[in-house]
């Protein structure tokens, strides 16, 4: 791969204070893409993140403002909104001339490059609309783990087990050929690999998917003949 460095802004939609948690998605992407320098920022005053329409609506203006700030101050090559609901992604695309990657559309998009039978596993009652609209008729199953309401619940000791139980149930019910995780809190707990081993089909980590899509848009030109 080429050795140019790309600066990627990454917006966390949950107001963490622990630096390790704040940096987790960014660290993960820097490991996968050594040419990335990821700058992670959290939106203020949403300690439970985004988990329903009201919490999403509250987050949108904060994400727009943070995205514009990252573009102005850090000269980022691309922005990732690290939430499967793609909050503020459409708005930021109107404001900034750089690639704006939403974790939900990135995961859904890469799922469609693999199969026409996609299942989603998230924390909201239904698949986030941004993913649903992209998957269209190819969304063949959706489920949320029982007893999980916010991203914080995923981080509790029983979180992983609940996700794996739900994944098995979804696969049994839906004949999905790939599972797109519909909450980036699942990236925080690093469940994709374990889930993939339990299910035997590819499981798409939405943060990792965002990294691959961002990488496509920032590095593509250098790779075009």
């Amino acid at each position: 791969m080429n050795q140019k460095t790309y600066t990627i802004g990454l917006i966390r939609v949950v107001s963490f204070t622990n630096p390790e948690l704040i940096e987790k998605h960014g660290t993960h992407l820097q490991q996968a893409f050594p040419t990335f320098r990821v700058i992670s920022k959290c939106i203020p005053d949403q300690p439970e993140g985004i988990f329903d329409y009201e919490s999403e609506a509250r987050a949108v203006p904060k994400i727009v403002s943070l995205g514009k700030q990252l573009a102005a101050e850090e000269g980022v090559d691309a922005l990732i909104v690290s939430c499967a609901a793609d909050p503020a992604v459409a708005e930021l695309r109107e404001e900034l001339p750089i690639p704006i990657i939403g974790a939900g559309s990135a995961a859904a998009s890469l799922a469609l490059a693999y199969t026409s039978r996609v299942g989603t596993l998230g924390i909201t009652e239904a698949t986030p609309l941004a993913m649903k609209k992209i998957l269209g008729p190819y969304l063949v199953g959706e489920l949320k783990p029982e007893g999980i309401k916010t991203t914080l619940d995923l981080m509790k000791p029983a979180g992983k087990e609940k996700v794996i139980t739900a994944g098995k149930k979804l696969l049994a019910e839906s004949n999905s050929r790939v599972l797109a995780l519909a909450c980036t809190g699942m990236s925080t707990i690093g469940i994709a690999q374990e889930l993939e081993e339990a299910l035997g089909i590819p499981v798409i980590d939405p943060v990792l998917a965002s990294g691959y899509c961002a990488w496509f848009y920032v590095s593509r030109k250098r790779n075009t003949p």
Copy 2:
């Protein structure tokens, strides 16, 4: 990036005899992905490639047979069907347990990770169905260059100019935010970069898009935390 080597089978849907032409897409991908070893094979008896439903139908069983042969003899980690119509992609997915990437769905998928306003530029009268179904309501414009019927016409001296003229017209008519090239013959003539400079919006090369999608599916596990 990790240094493991991946063997990628690449099926050309046009019966070239010139080795440089046969290898062109594969060489391109190996330059973009130094960890790829690409084995390119052409289907027999279709010197004009795929350019309508009849030529596509004729190609499908040949592609299935070639794909199965590549999997059996070369132990490929993934297969790319280098045609924007995704011929035989659904069939091969039922036959083989490896990622089967179609150039059409790869280009369409990566377009959706960037915008909800996608234009396509191909050589058939309408956007290939595989792309159309993935793009759904996000397909906002489509065009074919005048005077181009088969992939061989693209390779003639006036081919590039005709594509650029069509690209400008499409952009003027459609308000597309990204252009997905809907024929891998456009990858053969390497038009994406030039078109992008002429239009000022990202132009997706379908062979390159296939490489990024294949790379996601083969390398993803090593990058999952």
